[in-house]
Symmetry: C2
Subunit: 241 residues, 2 copies
Protein backbone atom coordinates (compact mmCIF):
# COMPACT_ATOMS: atom_id res chain seq x y z
CA UNK A 1 0.00 0.00 0.00
CA UNK A 2 1.40 3.36 -1.02
CA UNK A 3 1.52 5.88 1.78
CA UNK A 4 -0.68 8.95 1.36
CA UNK A 5 1.42 12.13 1.28
CA UNK A 6 0.17 15.40 2.73
CA UNK A 7 1.58 18.80 1.75
CA UNK A 8 0.85 22.17 3.29
CA UNK A 9 -0.15 24.62 0.56
CA UNK A 10 -1.73 27.85 1.79
CA UNK A 11 -4.28 28.91 -0.85
CA UNK A 12 -4.01 25.44 -2.39
CA UNK A 13 -7.23 26.03 -4.31
CA UNK A 14 -5.86 29.12 -6.02
CA UNK A 15 -2.26 28.25 -6.89
CA UNK A 16 -1.21 25.22 -8.93
CA UNK A 17 2.27 24.72 -7.61
CA UNK A 18 3.79 23.42 -4.37
CA UNK A 19 5.68 26.01 -2.27
CA UNK A 20 9.48 25.70 -2.63
CA UNK A 21 10.15 23.62 0.50
CA UNK A 22 7.29 21.24 -0.14
CA UNK A 23 8.36 20.88 -3.78
CA UNK A 24 11.89 19.98 -2.72
CA UNK A 25 10.52 17.43 -0.29
CA UNK A 26 8.19 15.93 -2.91
CA UNK A 27 10.77 15.75 -5.68
CA UNK A 28 14.06 15.10 -3.89
CA UNK A 29 13.08 13.15 -0.82
CA UNK A 30 9.91 11.33 -1.85
CA UNK A 31 10.89 11.22 -5.56
CA UNK A 32 7.32 11.85 -6.67
CA UNK A 33 6.61 11.84 -10.40
CA UNK A 34 3.92 13.13 -12.76
CA UNK A 35 0.65 11.31 -12.09
CA UNK A 36 1.46 10.46 -8.44
CA UNK A 37 -1.36 11.03 -5.98
CA UNK A 38 -1.07 13.55 -3.18
CA UNK A 39 -3.16 15.40 -0.61
CA UNK A 40 -2.88 19.12 -0.03
CA UNK A 41 -3.98 20.93 3.10
CA UNK A 42 -4.57 24.68 3.01
CA UNK A 43 -4.54 25.09 6.78
CA UNK A 44 -7.93 26.76 6.56
CA UNK A 45 -10.26 23.81 6.64
CA UNK A 46 -9.90 22.26 3.19
CA UNK A 47 -8.02 19.18 1.99
CA UNK A 48 -7.48 18.59 -1.71
CA UNK A 49 -6.97 15.28 -3.43
CA UNK A 50 -4.50 16.11 -6.22
CA UNK A 51 -2.01 14.60 -8.59
CA UNK A 52 1.43 15.69 -9.61
CA UNK A 53 1.42 17.51 -12.96
CA UNK A 54 4.45 18.91 -14.71
CA UNK A 55 7.68 18.89 -12.73
CA UNK A 56 10.99 20.63 -13.31
CA UNK A 57 14.18 20.37 -11.31
CA UNK A 58 12.77 22.49 -8.51
CA UNK A 59 9.13 23.00 -9.27
CA UNK A 60 6.20 20.71 -8.74
CA UNK A 61 2.85 21.60 -10.28
CA UNK A 62 -0.37 19.79 -9.45
CA UNK A 63 -3.94 19.25 -10.66
CA UNK A 64 -6.72 19.12 -8.13
CA UNK A 65 -8.94 16.06 -8.51
CA UNK A 66 -11.26 16.68 -5.63
CA UNK A 67 -11.97 19.41 -3.07
CA UNK A 68 -12.61 17.98 0.39
CA UNK A 69 -13.91 20.52 2.93
CA UNK A 70 -13.26 19.24 6.45
CA UNK A 71 -15.38 19.60 9.55
CA UNK A 72 -13.86 20.97 12.72
CA UNK A 73 -13.49 18.25 15.33
CA UNK A 74 -14.07 20.53 18.31
CA UNK A 75 -16.32 23.47 19.17
CA UNK A 76 -15.27 27.00 20.02
CA UNK A 77 -11.73 28.33 19.75
CA UNK A 78 -8.94 27.24 22.10
CA UNK A 79 -6.28 29.90 22.65
CA UNK A 80 -3.21 29.25 24.79
CA UNK A 81 -1.05 32.21 25.86
CA UNK A 82 2.12 31.04 27.56
CA UNK A 83 5.45 32.43 28.75
CA UNK A 84 8.14 30.53 26.83
CA UNK A 85 10.49 28.41 28.95
CA UNK A 86 14.19 29.13 29.37
CA UNK A 87 14.98 25.93 27.47
CA UNK A 88 13.68 26.30 23.96
CA UNK A 89 13.22 22.54 23.38
CA UNK A 90 10.63 22.40 26.16
CA UNK A 91 8.39 25.02 24.59
CA UNK A 92 8.93 23.46 21.17
CA UNK A 93 7.62 20.08 22.23
CA UNK A 94 4.68 21.76 23.93
CA UNK A 95 3.82 23.48 20.64
CA UNK A 96 4.09 20.17 18.77
CA UNK A 97 1.91 18.33 21.27
CA UNK A 98 -0.68 21.11 21.58
CA UNK A 99 -1.05 21.08 17.79
CA UNK A 100 -1.53 17.32 17.79
CA UNK A 101 -4.06 17.43 20.60
CA UNK A 102 -5.85 20.39 19.00
CA UNK A 103 -5.44 24.12 19.58
CA UNK A 104 -6.54 27.16 17.53
CA UNK A 105 -4.11 29.85 18.60
CA UNK A 106 -0.84 30.09 20.52
CA UNK A 107 0.53 33.36 21.93
CA UNK A 108 3.78 33.96 23.77
CA UNK A 109 3.87 36.24 26.79
CA UNK A 110 6.67 38.36 28.11
CA UNK A 111 6.05 38.48 31.87
CA UNK A 112 7.77 39.98 34.88
CA UNK A 113 9.48 36.69 35.79
CA UNK A 114 10.01 35.44 32.22
CA UNK A 115 13.29 33.63 31.71
CA UNK A 116 13.10 34.08 27.95
CA UNK A 117 12.26 37.40 26.28
CA UNK A 118 12.67 36.29 22.69
CA UNK A 119 11.38 33.45 20.63
CA UNK A 120 12.04 32.43 17.06
CA UNK A 121 8.56 32.39 15.60
CA UNK A 122 9.81 30.93 12.29
CA UNK A 123 10.99 27.79 14.16
CA UNK A 124 7.68 27.56 16.02
CA UNK A 125 5.77 27.92 12.74
CA UNK A 126 7.74 25.04 11.22
CA UNK A 127 6.98 22.80 14.19
CA UNK A 128 3.29 23.71 14.02
CA UNK A 129 3.11 22.95 10.29
CA UNK A 130 4.91 19.65 10.71
CA UNK A 131 2.64 18.58 13.61
CA UNK A 132 -0.41 19.76 11.68
CA UNK A 133 0.54 17.59 8.72
CA UNK A 134 1.46 14.63 10.88
CA UNK A 135 -1.81 14.75 12.82
CA UNK A 136 -3.88 15.73 9.74
CA UNK A 137 -5.37 18.86 11.23
CA UNK A 138 -7.39 20.81 8.68
CA UNK A 139 -6.79 24.15 10.40
CA UNK A 140 -3.33 25.51 11.09
CA UNK A 141 -3.08 26.97 14.59
CA UNK A 142 -2.39 30.71 14.51
CA UNK A 143 0.97 31.56 16.11
CA UNK A 144 1.50 35.06 17.45
CA UNK A 145 4.68 36.99 18.12
CA UNK A 146 5.81 37.54 21.71
CA UNK A 147 3.66 40.18 23.45
CA UNK A 148 4.06 42.00 26.75
CA UNK A 149 1.75 40.58 29.39
CA UNK A 150 0.03 43.91 29.98
CA UNK A 151 -0.60 44.60 26.35
CA UNK A 152 -1.96 41.06 25.90
CA UNK A 153 -4.49 41.32 28.70
CA UNK A 154 -5.49 44.84 27.69
CA UNK A 155 -6.56 43.51 24.30
CA UNK A 156 -10.24 42.61 24.29
CA UNK A 157 -11.06 39.00 23.42
CA UNK A 158 -14.15 36.95 22.67
CA UNK A 159 -15.16 34.23 25.09
CA UNK A 160 -14.05 33.22 28.56
CA UNK A 161 -10.54 34.02 29.78
CA UNK A 162 -8.56 32.18 32.45
CA UNK A 163 -5.28 32.73 34.21
CA UNK A 164 -3.52 29.69 35.72
CA UNK A 165 -1.22 30.44 38.66
CA UNK A 166 -0.01 29.02 41.95
CA UNK A 167 -0.86 31.77 44.47
CA UNK A 168 -2.83 30.46 47.42
CA UNK A 169 -4.03 33.94 48.34
CA UNK A 170 -6.26 34.24 45.27
CA UNK A 171 -9.14 31.77 45.24
CA UNK A 172 -8.61 29.40 42.32
CA UNK A 173 -11.25 27.29 40.63
CA UNK A 174 -10.44 24.07 38.82
CA UNK A 175 -10.05 24.75 35.08
CA UNK A 176 -11.60 21.45 34.04
CA UNK A 177 -14.72 21.99 36.11
CA UNK A 178 -15.03 25.57 34.86
CA UNK A 179 -14.71 24.41 31.25
CA UNK A 180 -17.38 21.76 31.76
CA UNK A 181 -19.80 24.47 32.89
CA UNK A 182 -19.28 26.68 29.85
CA UNK A 183 -21.36 26.54 26.73
CA UNK A 184 -19.48 24.10 24.49
CA UNK A 185 -19.30 26.68 21.66
CA UNK A 186 -17.67 29.28 23.91
CA UNK A 187 -14.18 30.44 22.92
CA UNK A 188 -11.57 30.10 25.66
CA UNK A 189 -8.22 31.74 26.35
CA UNK A 190 -5.90 30.28 29.00
CA UNK A 191 -2.81 32.08 30.33
CA UNK A 192 0.12 30.04 31.67
CA UNK A 193 3.06 31.78 33.35
CA UNK A 194 6.82 31.28 33.30
CA UNK A 195 8.90 28.96 35.54
CA UNK A 196 8.69 31.52 38.37
CA UNK A 197 4.92 32.00 37.83
CA UNK A 198 3.16 35.28 37.08
CA UNK A 199 3.81 38.05 39.59
CA UNK A 200 1.00 38.68 42.10
CA UNK A 201 0.49 42.06 40.41
CA UNK A 202 0.06 40.41 37.04
CA UNK A 203 -2.57 38.07 38.47
CA UNK A 204 -4.40 41.00 40.09
CA UNK A 205 -4.33 42.97 36.86
CA UNK A 206 -5.69 40.01 34.90
CA UNK A 207 -8.57 39.66 37.40
CA UNK A 208 -9.53 43.30 36.82
CA UNK A 209 -9.60 42.55 33.08
CA UNK A 210 -12.12 39.71 33.53
CA UNK A 211 -9.71 36.76 33.63
CA UNK A 212 -10.83 33.97 35.97
CA UNK A 213 -8.32 32.63 38.46
CA UNK A 214 -7.80 28.90 37.97
CA UNK A 215 -5.70 25.92 38.95
CA UNK A 216 -4.84 22.94 36.73
CA UNK A 217 -5.20 20.45 39.59
CA UNK A 218 -3.08 19.43 42.55
CA UNK A 219 0.05 18.47 40.60
CA UNK A 220 3.07 20.73 40.49
CA UNK A 221 3.54 21.05 36.72
CA UNK A 222 6.34 22.58 34.69
CA UNK A 223 5.33 25.51 32.47
CA UNK A 224 5.25 23.43 29.28
CA UNK A 225 3.29 20.62 30.96
CA UNK A 226 0.80 23.14 32.33
CA UNK A 227 0.31 24.54 28.81
CA UNK A 228 -0.39 21.13 27.36
CA UNK A 229 -2.66 20.25 30.29
CA UNK A 230 -4.75 23.39 29.69
CA UNK A 231 -5.11 22.57 25.98
CA UNK A 232 -5.95 18.93 26.75
CA UNK A 233 -8.63 19.90 29.27
CA UNK A 234 -10.18 22.31 26.77
CA UNK A 235 -10.02 19.69 24.05
CA UNK A 236 -11.69 17.01 26.20
CA UNK A 237 -14.59 19.32 27.03
CA UNK A 238 -15.00 20.75 23.52
CA UNK A 239 -14.37 17.87 21.11
CA UNK A 240 -17.20 16.53 19.02
CA UNK A 241 -18.21 12.89 19.22
CA UNK B 1 14.30 32.91 50.66
CA UNK B 2 16.33 29.73 50.61
CA UNK B 3 15.06 27.17 48.16
CA UNK B 4 13.80 23.92 49.62
CA UNK B 5 15.87 20.97 48.41
CA UNK B 6 14.37 17.54 47.83
CA UNK B 7 16.41 14.34 47.70
CA UNK B 8 15.29 10.87 46.76
CA UNK B 9 16.27 8.42 49.48
CA UNK B 10 14.61 5.00 49.27
CA UNK B 11 14.15 3.77 52.85
CA UNK B 12 14.91 7.29 54.07
CA UNK B 13 13.45 6.43 57.46
CA UNK B 14 15.88 3.53 57.98
CA UNK B 15 19.20 4.80 56.67
CA UNK B 16 20.92 7.98 57.84
CA UNK B 17 22.95 8.78 54.77
CA UNK B 18 22.18 10.14 51.28
CA UNK B 19 22.75 7.69 48.40
CA UNK B 20 26.03 8.38 46.52
CA UNK B 21 24.57 10.44 43.66
CA UNK B 22 22.38 12.53 45.91
CA UNK B 23 25.30 13.10 48.29
CA UNK B 24 27.47 14.33 45.41
CA UNK B 25 24.70 16.67 44.29
CA UNK B 26 24.16 17.99 47.84
CA UNK B 27 27.84 18.50 48.62
CA UNK B 28 29.42 19.42 45.29
CA UNK B 29 26.66 21.19 43.41
CA UNK B 30 24.51 22.70 46.15
CA UNK B 31 27.42 23.01 48.62
CA UNK B 32 25.24 22.06 51.55
CA UNK B 33 26.78 22.08 55.01
CA UNK B 34 26.08 20.61 58.45
CA UNK B 35 22.86 22.08 59.82
CA UNK B 36 21.33 22.91 56.41
CA UNK B 37 17.69 22.00 55.99
CA UNK B 38 16.55 19.44 53.44
CA UNK B 39 13.60 17.31 52.49
CA UNK B 40 13.84 13.62 51.71
CA UNK B 41 11.32 11.61 49.71
CA UNK B 42 11.29 7.83 50.02
CA UNK B 43 9.19 7.30 46.90
CA UNK B 44 6.73 5.32 48.97
CA UNK B 45 4.50 8.01 50.33
CA UNK B 46 6.61 9.68 53.00
CA UNK B 47 8.52 12.98 53.00
CA UNK B 48 11.03 13.73 55.75
CA UNK B 49 12.10 17.13 56.98
CA UNK B 50 15.77 16.64 57.81
CA UNK B 51 19.02 18.46 58.38
CA UNK B 52 22.51 17.75 57.20
CA UNK B 53 24.59 16.03 59.88
CA UNK B 54 28.20 14.98 59.53
CA UNK B 55 29.69 15.24 56.06
CA UNK B 56 32.90 13.86 54.58
CA UNK B 57 34.32 14.39 51.13
CA UNK B 58 31.77 12.09 49.55
CA UNK B 59 29.29 11.22 52.25
CA UNK B 60 26.37 13.20 53.58
CA UNK B 61 24.64 12.02 56.74
CA UNK B 62 21.37 13.48 57.97
CA UNK B 63 19.10 13.68 61.02
CA UNK B 64 15.36 13.47 60.56
CA UNK B 65 13.48 16.28 62.26
CA UNK B 66 10.00 15.36 61.19
CA UNK B 67 8.25 12.51 59.41
CA UNK B 68 5.59 13.76 56.99
CA UNK B 69 3.35 11.01 55.58
CA UNK B 70 1.73 12.25 52.36
CA UNK B 71 -1.75 11.59 51.05
CA UNK B 72 -2.20 10.28 47.54
CA UNK B 73 -3.69 12.95 45.29
CA UNK B 74 -5.63 10.52 43.11
CA UNK B 75 -7.66 7.35 43.61
CA UNK B 76 -6.95 3.92 42.18
CA UNK B 77 -3.78 2.95 40.33
CA UNK B 78 -2.98 4.25 36.85
CA UNK B 79 -0.87 1.84 34.79
CA UNK B 80 0.32 2.73 31.29
CA UNK B 81 1.75 -0.04 29.08
CA UNK B 82 3.24 1.38 25.91
CA UNK B 83 5.39 0.30 22.98
CA UNK B 84 8.48 2.51 23.05
CA UNK B 85 8.97 4.78 20.04
CA UNK B 86 11.81 4.42 17.56
CA UNK B 87 13.21 7.76 18.76
CA UNK B 88 14.22 7.36 22.35
CA UNK B 89 13.81 11.07 23.21
CA UNK B 90 10.09 10.86 22.44
CA UNK B 91 9.43 8.09 24.91
CA UNK B 92 11.68 9.80 27.45
CA UNK B 93 9.68 13.00 27.46
CA UNK B 94 6.49 10.99 27.70
CA UNK B 95 7.84 9.30 30.83
CA UNK B 96 8.81 12.68 32.31
CA UNK B 97 5.41 14.22 31.58
CA UNK B 98 3.40 11.17 32.71
CA UNK B 99 5.29 11.28 36.03
CA UNK B 100 4.52 14.99 36.44
CA UNK B 101 0.85 14.52 35.58
CA UNK B 102 0.63 11.45 37.82
CA UNK B 103 1.00 7.76 36.99
CA UNK B 104 1.58 4.70 39.20
CA UNK B 105 3.21 2.23 36.85
CA UNK B 106 4.78 2.27 33.39
CA UNK B 107 5.42 -0.89 31.35
CA UNK B 108 7.06 -1.23 27.96
CA UNK B 109 5.61 -3.59 25.37
CA UNK B 110 7.34 -5.44 22.60
CA UNK B 111 4.70 -5.75 19.88
CA UNK B 112 4.52 -7.16 16.38
CA UNK B 113 5.07 -3.75 14.75
CA UNK B 114 7.40 -2.34 17.42
CA UNK B 115 10.19 -0.21 16.02
CA UNK B 116 12.25 -0.56 19.18
CA UNK B 117 12.85 -3.88 20.92
CA UNK B 118 15.14 -2.64 23.65
CA UNK B 119 15.00 0.13 26.17
CA UNK B 120 17.49 1.32 28.76
CA UNK B 121 15.49 1.07 31.93
CA UNK B 122 18.24 2.76 33.96
CA UNK B 123 17.82 5.93 31.86
CA UNK B 124 14.05 5.77 32.25
CA UNK B 125 14.42 5.33 36.03
CA UNK B 126 16.60 8.44 36.22
CA UNK B 127 14.05 10.49 34.30
CA UNK B 128 11.25 9.22 36.53
CA UNK B 129 13.16 10.08 39.71
CA UNK B 130 14.06 13.53 38.43
CA UNK B 131 10.44 14.27 37.41
CA UNK B 132 9.18 12.85 40.71
CA UNK B 133 11.45 15.21 42.65
CA UNK B 134 10.67 18.18 40.45
CA UNK B 135 6.91 17.67 40.73
CA UNK B 136 7.08 16.59 44.42
CA UNK B 137 5.35 13.29 43.93
CA UNK B 138 5.35 11.23 47.12
CA UNK B 139 5.19 7.91 45.27
CA UNK B 140 7.74 6.88 42.67
CA UNK B 141 6.08 5.33 39.62
CA UNK B 142 7.04 1.68 39.17
CA UNK B 143 8.93 1.13 35.91
CA UNK B 144 8.94 -2.34 34.41
CA UNK B 145 11.34 -3.97 31.96
CA UNK B 146 10.26 -4.54 28.36
CA UNK B 147 7.76 -7.42 28.09
CA UNK B 148 6.38 -9.28 25.10
CA UNK B 149 2.84 -8.19 24.32
CA UNK B 150 1.44 -11.70 24.71
CA UNK B 151 3.08 -12.34 28.03
CA UNK B 152 1.88 -8.92 29.28
CA UNK B 153 -1.75 -9.54 28.44
CA UNK B 154 -1.63 -13.10 29.72
CA UNK B 155 -0.68 -11.78 33.16
CA UNK B 156 -3.76 -11.26 35.30
CA UNK B 157 -4.29 -7.73 36.61
CA UNK B 158 -6.57 -5.96 39.06
CA UNK B 159 -9.05 -3.45 37.76
CA UNK B 160 -10.25 -2.43 34.32
CA UNK B 161 -8.04 -2.91 31.27
CA UNK B 162 -8.14 -0.97 28.01
CA UNK B 163 -6.43 -1.24 24.67
CA UNK B 164 -6.17 1.91 22.51
CA UNK B 165 -5.93 1.30 18.77
CA UNK B 166 -6.98 2.74 15.41
CA UNK B 167 -8.83 -0.18 13.77
CA UNK B 168 -12.27 0.84 12.53
CA UNK B 169 -13.43 -2.79 12.36
CA UNK B 170 -13.44 -3.19 16.14
CA UNK B 171 -16.00 -1.04 17.91
CA UNK B 172 -14.13 1.47 20.07
CA UNK B 173 -15.52 3.36 23.04
CA UNK B 174 -14.14 6.69 24.15
CA UNK B 175 -11.61 6.20 26.95
CA UNK B 176 -12.59 9.36 28.81
CA UNK B 177 -16.27 8.43 28.89
CA UNK B 178 -15.44 4.88 29.98
CA UNK B 179 -13.22 6.18 32.78
CA UNK B 180 -15.95 8.52 33.98
CA UNK B 181 -18.28 5.56 34.37
CA UNK B 182 -15.89 3.51 36.48
CA UNK B 183 -15.80 3.53 40.24
CA UNK B 184 -13.23 6.21 41.06
CA UNK B 185 -11.19 3.77 43.16
CA UNK B 186 -10.90 1.27 40.33
CA UNK B 187 -7.39 0.50 39.08
CA UNK B 188 -6.89 1.02 35.35
CA UNK B 189 -4.40 -0.29 32.81
CA UNK B 190 -4.20 1.29 29.35
CA UNK B 191 -2.26 -0.23 26.45
CA UNK B 192 -0.86 2.05 23.73
CA UNK B 193 0.73 0.55 20.61
CA UNK B 194 3.77 1.43 18.50
CA UNK B 195 3.95 3.88 15.55
CA UNK B 196 2.40 1.23 13.28
CA UNK B 197 -0.30 0.39 15.86
CA UNK B 198 -0.97 -3.02 17.38
CA UNK B 199 -1.62 -5.79 14.87
CA UNK B 200 -5.26 -6.78 14.41
CA UNK B 201 -4.37 -10.15 15.97
CA UNK B 202 -2.95 -8.43 19.03
CA UNK B 203 -6.15 -6.41 19.45
CA UNK B 204 -8.27 -9.57 19.07
CA UNK B 205 -6.16 -11.41 21.61
CA UNK B 206 -6.44 -8.54 24.09
CA UNK B 207 -10.23 -8.56 23.72
CA UNK B 208 -10.32 -12.26 24.64
CA UNK B 209 -8.30 -11.39 27.75
CA UNK B 210 -10.89 -8.87 28.92
CA UNK B 211 -9.30 -5.68 27.57
CA UNK B 212 -11.84 -3.10 26.38
CA UNK B 213 -11.37 -1.59 22.94
CA UNK B 214 -11.02 2.20 23.17
CA UNK B 215 -10.18 5.34 21.25
CA UNK B 216 -8.52 8.45 22.66
CA UNK B 217 -10.70 10.80 20.61
CA UNK B 218 -10.78 11.93 17.02
CA UNK B 219 -7.22 13.26 16.84
CA UNK B 220 -4.46 11.33 15.14
CA UNK B 221 -1.89 11.17 17.92
CA UNK B 222 1.70 10.00 17.93
CA UNK B 223 2.47 7.06 20.23
CA UNK B 224 4.01 9.22 22.94
CA UNK B 225 1.19 11.77 22.79
CA UNK B 226 -1.37 8.96 23.03
CA UNK B 227 0.40 7.62 26.13
CA UNK B 228 0.31 11.00 27.83
CA UNK B 229 -3.29 11.57 26.77
CA UNK B 230 -4.33 8.24 28.36
CA UNK B 231 -2.58 9.14 31.62
CA UNK B 232 -4.06 12.66 31.60
CA UNK B 233 -7.59 11.34 31.04
CA UNK B 234 -7.17 8.86 33.90
CA UNK B 235 -5.74 11.58 36.11
CA UNK B 236 -8.61 14.01 35.40
CA UNK B 237 -11.19 11.39 36.32
CA UNK B 238 -9.36 10.05 39.39
CA UNK B 239 -7.75 13.05 41.06
CA UNK B 240 -9.00 14.16 44.45
CA UNK B 241 -10.32 17.67 44.99
Amino acid sequence: MKEIRFFYVPEAGKVQELPTEEATHALRVLRMRTGDEMYLMDGQGVFYHAEVGMTTNKKCFYHIRETLPQEKTWRGRIHLAIAPTKMMDRIEWMVEKATEVGVDEISFLNCKFSERQQIRIDRIEKIVVSAMKQSRKAWKPVVNEMTDFTSFINTSRQGTKFIAHCYQEFKRDDLFRELQQLDVDEDVTVLVGPEGDFSADEVKLALTRGYRSISLGNSRLRTETAGLMAVTMAQITKRKE
